[in-house]
Amino acid sequence: MASIPAQASVVVIGAGIVGNSLVHHLAELGWTDIVQVDKGPLPNPGGSTGHASNFIFPVDHSREIADLTLDSMAQYKELGVFTESGGFEVARTEERMEELRRRMASARAWGIESSLVTPAEVVEKVPFLDPSVIVGGFWTPTVGVVDSVRAGTMMRESAEAAGALTVSPNTEVTGIDVDNGRITRVHTSRGEIVTDRVFVACGVWSPRIAAMAGAEIPLTPAVHQMISVGPVPQLAERPGEISFPIVRDMDTFCYERQHGSDMEIGSYAHRPILHDPDEIPSIEAAKLSPTEMPFTDEDFDPQLEQAVELMPEVLSNPDVEIRYAINGLLSLTPDGAPILGESPQVAGLWSAAAVWVKEGPGVGRAVAEWMTNGLPEIDVQGADIARFHPHQRTREHVRARTSEAFNKTYGIVHPGEQWASDRNVRLSPMHAREKELGAVFFETGGWERPQWYESNAGLLEEFGDRVMPRPNEWDGRWWSPIINAEHLAMRQRAGLVDLSSFVIFDVAGPAALDAVQRIALAQMDVTIGRVVYTPILDENGGFRSDLTIMRLAHDRFRIVTGAAHGMADVKWFHDRLPASGAQIADLTSSWTTIGLWGPNARDILGGLTSADVSYEGFRFGTARTIEIGSLPVLASRISYVGDLGWELYVPMESGLRLWDVLYEAGRDHGLIPVGLGVYGTTGRIEKGYRAFGAELDSERSVVEVGMSRPKVKSQDFVGRAAHLRHREEEPKAVLCSLTVDDHTSASGQMRYMLGGEPIVSADGDPLIDGHGRNAYVTSAGSAPSLGKHVLMAFLPPAEAVLGNRLQVVYMEEFYPVTVASVDSTPLFDPDNECIRR
């Protein structure tokens, strides 16, 4: 048996499209002594790459996935393994046509050529499709197929040829040693490899490999059924692997893809069939390959009839036989995103898992850059392995969410759609009270958060049309005009917001100041009791996060951040602490937070405490502990909704008491409970507050989002050099707020955009910024105080002019918009008088 190198700079486990792309890009970036192992033979070791249908549709509603796909397509083309076929997504229903109009929005937003077509136009290119079955289609000419095994082989061999890589197939990983939280060694069937970095790129087996190091990669192997039928005379007439466009039959969750004289039919319509990574057969025991599981006819039978409906001429031919049929395994994750980056559980354990062929080379490049420079060029923070909260890594959570998501693969998913499964995992102390108040709960990070309260329905009458009702069902789905009523009541009186889902952690110790000073853009050497809102930048000056930091003591800082991305923030801070002198304590489950805001907030709080909460006595941007009855409460005078008020922190077990006391005291002051619909959207959008993941990401600079301050602190911090450079350069894009001038659609209905829509010129031309990005809506929402629907978007600097008249494209109709803010000046209360009253 061939031996294996005793040492490696990095061990890449897996020789599918991801592992192969990864070793190629690592070698390109200068890595040497890479060792790649796979338990299977080459070139097809038996993972999901080997049975992939290998076609690529570039349009996706997720910008991150679209970016990775476009980069992958470019790489496949460079390798000469991409064949452009074009592709249709066809609709059998009007509801699906509406979804295809949303696909058009994403295509326009990401700058991908696509168009809506009639059934006749589909038949022009796919003559054997029955046009009477469909009502229309979505055409993308750049759709194509790739040879992913060939591409992987070429990339792997290029790394070998560069002398950077040793490949060891037929080599099973049997163990991974971890010492003091770091990878030290990989055990294989051919010997041990000393290394401090391991890349898990082995698809459906990834959880099993990660478990060897004591870590979790929360994905599950799941079945995607595919059959291949042939020989089809109509296909055999034309040469080559593919000459007819691929057809996705969206309403039946199926696709039909030519493969030579055969037609492959794949399905996402069958029941979710999940497997355990430990139950995947060995290579020796598998009939085909380990990930080509035995086909289960009865699951596929309904799809056959639907396929015949669409292509009767081809598929009801009795000479066309089902020659190959598999339950192919692929990887699903609880939130549908890939799992990339270094594990927060074990240093040096990297994941590149749950990646499809269409994203493989892009992911390989991104994670190679990430491991090399700390930063991928494409923002992949939505796929960061550090995003998971502990419960999201459990097998049951993965099972529940992937089961729910599987049939949504081709589904029509509303951007506000909530999960139905595995709910009520994390409940705030006031949860029972909220239920009594008719809270409609949305979930983030496992937390049940009231989005609005049905008990506030009475406010609709008070505010009338100012709540901006949405007559269209789609626009108003997962939404209620009560949100806007709550907003207006808070602006006039006061609102109480459950913020228990905050991720809260302390950095403490003699080196704590140095640590946070080096991580945060803002000056952290502030007086004790100051609350500082700060961007957290990466080395390129892009955003890693934005959050607030309270200085609680000379040697203690409390970081408060959002539930969605908070776990990644914890890892970001953790990785940047000095070797000694500062430690992180995650206090998320120790503290609950209640927001109290509105013009009456001071009266309510003042009536409950002897502390001085006057303008002078409790300045904006300060925090201190006050007594409310017998509760010591950490009060922090800041606001994400742009109104006078406080975030009030108490230990979790006192949260209910504090809620009750505030609620009772607020009765006489018009206090109402206010949901996250206000906190997350309406309150912030009319104040122009940016949100991480929407406006703030690693691509945009502090200058471009309009958040640079007059001075830059003298102390060094991550991203400082880049930030200084950005301040000298002309911005490539400018974040603007726009108001919609007329909501009336062609059919006379008032329509309200939800986010993701393209912004185009008054003539309908795309607007492309200096990053090469088309302008699109990063956040959309009501600004009830203004009676306007507000959109945020990055515009080319020349277009970022107050009063500039542009258009937003919604469901393929054009609506006039006006640029209303070209910096962070709020549309509502531009001088911030409400906050500072």
């Binding site: 057969p281 035995p294 086909f295 006819d297 056959l304 015949v308 009801s316 089902i322």
Partner: protein, 289 residues
Amino acid sequence: MNILVCIKRVPDIAGSVTLDATGTRIDDSGLGHTKSSHEECAVELAIQTAAATGGTVTVLTVGPAEAVEQLRAAVAVGANDGILVEAADPSVFAPEDIAQIIGDVIRDRAEAGQTFDLVLTGDDAADTGDFQVGIRLAYDLEYPVLTNIQTIRAVDGDVGGGGEGGATGSGAVGAADGGSGGVADGGAGVIEARGIGPAGTEVFTLALPAVIAVQEGGVDPRYPSITGRMKAKKAPIAEYDAPEPGTGSPRIRLELPEVRQSSVTILGEGPDAAPALVDVLEEIGVMRP
């Protein structure tokens, strides 16, 4: 000609085999199921022969409820209907019990008006390899029986035995003497059957009704078409319950053979490897020096 094909649901194995905890069965968790390849060919022969004679094909299995998948798979390639004799665990039956069960069903169907001129089985099942059911079934039905048959053809004319290349009908075990099983009408026809014998191709003719055990290799089983598969979903399946375990001697346990270590010698790469390859081919007698 109406033909009954007896098939068995077996694990679809390719490489290494493991046994379940009882030691009497192959561990089929994670494996698909199929019918034995001899039976695949029997189904194909039946479909061709029925088509040529204007008859029907019925498939029968004794097995768990899931074995209906194998029946429907046979319908998908052209069989007309199926009979499931449900037995949660067929391994409790010995081959003579299975033959008895099938014989009883054939008699029962005859009473109901469905008769079979020809009964096909595989030579032996892929998982157990007993090689008995066909012969015992013929004995039970008092039909003539052939084994190791690869092709069949309905012919006109008399019954007789002969052989190409001098072979005689050594595969013929029983004799056609009237068929006191009394199922099919006398004079149902004559079948010509061919198989590979010790000295060459053996050719038989025999009068129906009869039992023929098929060996793979004579025909290429077809794949199902989509329309065939759609038809299979709706095909009628008659259901019977298997009786209590019979009086035969079922299997006590299976044993796995020792894994033989194989080694691979790489002779070289490219044209340089040619002389070494020639040496090996001469050594194993494929080429003469």
